[in-house]
C-alpha cells in the first residue's frame, strides 16, 4: 500500500512546487504549473495523444477480441502454446522490441527488402517515422494487455448460454449482440483501460518509430523532467494524466452499476 501511495504523493507534492535550476524543486507552493498546462499547445498535444491512443485501442480490440475468443475455445494443448507465445515477448525489454519493429519498417528494412526482391514494389515504401509506424508499435506492445482480460471473460462464458440462445431462435448476430457482447463487456472495458492510458505515455515508441515528431503526453512529461529540468511542470502533467485515468475508471464503475441495475429490472 505504502509502495503504491508514496511515489504518487511525491509526484502530487512536486506538482505544486516551483522550478529550481539546480535543486529541481523549491518553495513557494504554487498552482502555476497547472495553469501552464491549460496552454492550447498542451491541449493540442493531449488531443493528438488521445487520438493516437484511441486508434491503437480500437485496433487492439479488433485483433484481440476474436483472438481471445479463439484462445478460450481451442483445445488445451493449443491454448498452452498460444498463451506461451503471448507471454514470451514480455521476456524481452519493450524498448528492444520497439527497435525490432524499426528494423522491419525501415526503407531498407526487412519488409521493404522482401517486397522489392519479390518484385512487388519498385521503390521502398515510406513506413518508418510516420504516425502509422507509431501505431503499429503501440498495437504490437499493448495487444497482450487487451487479450488477457478478454481471455478471462471468454473463459467464463459458458457454451450452454450460446446453445440456449440458439434454441430460443436467435441467429448468430443476435446471439453475439445480445448474449456474447454484454457478457464480455467487462473484459472489453478492462482491456480498453489497460491499452488506452499506457498508449498515451509510451514516449519511447514515439521517439524511436515516429522520429521523435509525434508528441505523446509521455514525451512532454519526459522532456520536462530530463531536458528542461522543470520537474514541477512535468509532475503536474503526469498528475493530470493520472486524473484522466481516474475519471475513466470512475466512468467504468458508474456504467457497470447502471448495467447491473438494468440487469435486475
Amino acid at each position: 500500500m505504502l509502495l503504491v501511495l508514496l511515489p504518487n504523493l511525491l509526484v502530487i507534492g512536486a506538482s505544486f512546487m516551483t522550478r529550481d535550476p539546480s535543486d529541481f524543486l523549491s518553495l513557494p507552493l504554487t498552482l502555476d504549473n497547472y495553469r501552464r498546462l491549460m496552454d492550447p499547445l498542451y491541449l493540442q498535444v493531449f488531443l493528438h495523444s488521445l487520438y493516437m491512443a484511441a486508434v491503437t485501442t480500437v485496433l487492439c480490440l479488433l485483433i484481440g477480441y476474436p483472438f481471445a475468443w479463439a484462445l478460450a475455445r481451442v483445445d488445451k494443448r493449443w491454448q498452452t502454446l498460444l498463451m506461451f507465445l503471448l507471454i514470451v515477448p514480455f521476456w524481452t525489454n519493450s524498448l528492444v522490441r520497439t527497435y525490432a519493429v524499426k528494423l522491419l519498417l525501415a526503407s531498407n528494412g526487412l519488409i521493404n527488402s522482401a517486397l522489392q526482391s519479390l518484385g512487388i514494389t519498385e521503390a521502398p515504401i515510406t513506413m518508418l517515422y510516420t504516425e502509422g509506424a507509431v501505431i503499429v508499435g503501440l498495437v504490437y506492445l499493448l495487444l497482450p494487455f487487451m487479450i488477457l482480460p478478454l481471455y478471462a471473460v471468454f473463459e467464463d462464458l459458458r457454451r450452454e448460454l450460446l446453445l440456449a440462445s440458439h434454441d430460443l431462435g436467435a441467429g448468430r448476430l443476435a446471439t453475439f449482440f445480445h448474449v456474447v457482447l454484454p457478457l464480455t463487456l467487462p473484459g472489453v472495458i478492462a482491456g480498453v483501460l489497460l491499452v488506452l492510458l499506457p498508449a498515451m505515455g509510451m514516449f519511447y515508441v514515439a521517439d524511436v518509430l515516429g522520429g521523435a515528431k509525434n508528441l505523446l503526453v509521455g514525451n512532454v512529461i519526459k522532456n520536462q523532467f530530463l531536458d528542461a529540468r522543470d520537474w514541477p511542470f512535468g509532475a503536474a502533467a503526469s498528475v493530470l494524466l493520472t486524473l484522466a485515468m481516474a475519471v475513466l475508471l470512475l466512468a467504468h464503475r458508474l456504467s457497470r452499476r447502471r448495467l447491473g441495475e438494468e440487469g435486475e429490472t
Partner: protein
C-alpha cells in the same frame, strides 16, 4: 560425501572471489563513444572491469548524476563543454589529482585552462568535434550543399534529419538568421523558431542517439550530424559526406569528470591516465571519428585520418563556428519553442 566435497569447493571458490574483490569502474558515457577494444585493453592491464552505461543528452546525464549523487553510482562521466562548468559550480564533481596523471601535458594547450574549468581542477578533455551537415551523395550532389540555409530548399523536404536536441536545432535557426547560437534574447529565439517551423513539415526524423542511422536506414538524405557519426556512417554508406556549413558548425568538446561521491576514485584516475596515452588516444580517434586533443597522439595517426577534414577541420572550415555555452534560464524559452516545434504549431 561427494556433496560435502562439492560444497567445500564452492565455498573455496567463493572465498577466492571475495578475496580478490574484482574491481569495477562505472563509466557513464555517450553511446558508442569509446571502442570496446580500448576498454578490454584497460581491463587486461589493470584487472579493473569497466561497466559502460550510456546517455544520449547532457540533460539526461546531469539529471541522473544530480539525483543519484548520494548513491554514487558512477565513477566517471563525460559531460560536454558548458556542462562541466555547471556541474563544477554546483559542487557535483570531485577534484582531479593531477599527480596521478602522467600524460596531462599531452593535451593541446588551447583546450585546457578554459573558462569552464580554470586550471582543469575538475576535468580532463577527452575528444572534441563539430555538428555540421551530412549529405547522402547517392541522392544529392554534395557539392551543391554549402550552408544550413540549403536545408530549406524545396527538393529536400521530407528527407531531412535533425538532432533531437533543442540547443543544436536552434543553433541552425539562429545562425541562418545571423544571430549567435548562444542567444539569450527571447525575440531572436522566437524568430529562429518561426524560421525552423517552416522546415518542420520537411523533417523526417529527429535523432541524437545515433544520428547516422536515419541516413543508413535510407530514410533521410540530408541534415544534421556529428562529424564522428559521419565518419562511422561512411564505413557502411561510403557516399555519406560531411559538410561544414558557411553559417558555422557547432563546436563542442567532452571532458572526463569524477562525480563527487564516486566509489572508485582510484580506478577513475587510472582510467583517465590510460586515456591520455598517445597510442590509446590515437586508436580512439581513428576508430570513432572524433578529434583527439592529445598532441602526441595526432602524430601517431595515419595520414588518411589526419587528412580527413571531417575529423580534423582545416582553418577555413571553422570560420563562423561557435562553441556551445550555457544560456542559463533562457533555456526555458528554448524549451517552450522546442515543444511548439515538435507539436507542429
Amino acid at each position: 560425501m561427494k556433496k560435502v566435497a562439492l560444497a567445500a569447493m564452492l565455498a573455496a571458490a567463493l572465498a577466492g572471489c571475495s578475496k580478490q574483490e574484482e574491481q569495477v569502474l562505472n563509466l557513464y558515457n555517450w553511446s558508442e563513444y569509446m571502442p570496446q577494444t580500448v576498454l578490454d585493453q584497460f581491463t587486461e592491464e589493470t584487472g579493473i572491469k569497466v561497466v559502460y552505461t550510456t546517455y544520449d543528452s547532457n540533460e539526461a546525464m546531469y539529471a541522473r548524476l544530480k539525483l543519484l549523487d548520494e548513491s554514487s553510482q558512477y565513477d566517471l562521466a563525460v559531460p560536454s563543454t558548458y556542462y562541466v562548468n555547471k556541474m563544477r559550480n554546483e559542487g557535483l564533481l570531485a577534484p582531479i589529482d593531477r599527480s596521478k596523471l602522467s600524460g596531462f601535458d599531452n593535451i593541446d594547450s588551447t583546450l585546457v585552462n578554459l573558462d569552464i574549468d580554470p586550471g582543469n581542477q575538475y576535468s580532463v578533455p577527452y575528444l572534441w568535434g563539430t555538428t555540421g551537415i551530412a549529405v547522402n551523395g547517392d541522392a544529392i550532389d554534395p557539392a551543391t550543399v554549402t550552408s544550413w540555409a540549403d536545408l530549406w530548399k524545396p527538393e529536400y523536404q521530407g528527407r531531412i534529419m535533425m538532432m533531437n536536441d533543442v540547443r543544436e536545432v536552434f543553433h541552425v535557426g539562429l545562425r541562418v538568421l545571423g544571430y549567435s547560437a548562444n542567444s539569450t534574447n527571447p525575440e531572436e529565439i522566437e524568430a529562429a523558431y518561426s524560421k525552423l517551423a517552416e522546415l518542420m513539415p520537411g523533417v523526417r526524423t529527429f535523432n541524437s542517439d545515433a544520428p547516422r542511422m536515419p541516413y543508413l536506414e535510407g530514410e533521410t538524405d540530408i541534415g544534421m550530424i556529428w562529424n564522428g557519426e559521419a565518419v562511422m556512417g561512411a564505413e557502411d554508406l561510403p557516399a555519406l559526406t560531411y559538410i561544414y556549413p558557411q553559417e558555422g558548425a557547432i563546436v563542442w568538446f567532452d571532458s572526463f569528470v569524477i562525480p563527487k561521491n564516486a566509489k572508485n576514485v582510484e580506478a577513475a584516475h587510472k582510467f583517465i591516465d590510460f586515456m591520455l596515452r598517445p597510442e590509446i588516444a590515437a586508436e580512439i580517434s581513428t576508430d570513432i571519428g572524433y578529434a583527439t586533443p592529445n598532441l602526441p597522439a595526432r602524430e601517431l595517426l595515419d595520414e588518411e585520418v589526419k587528412a580527413d577534414r571531417a575529423v580534423y577541420p582545416a582553418a577555413e572550415d571553422m570560420v563562423n563556428a561557435e562553441v556551445q555555452e550555457d544560456v542559463g534560464e533562457a533555456l526555458l524559452v528554448y524549451e517552450k519553442f522546442w515543444e511548439m516545434l515538435k507539436a507542429g504549431q
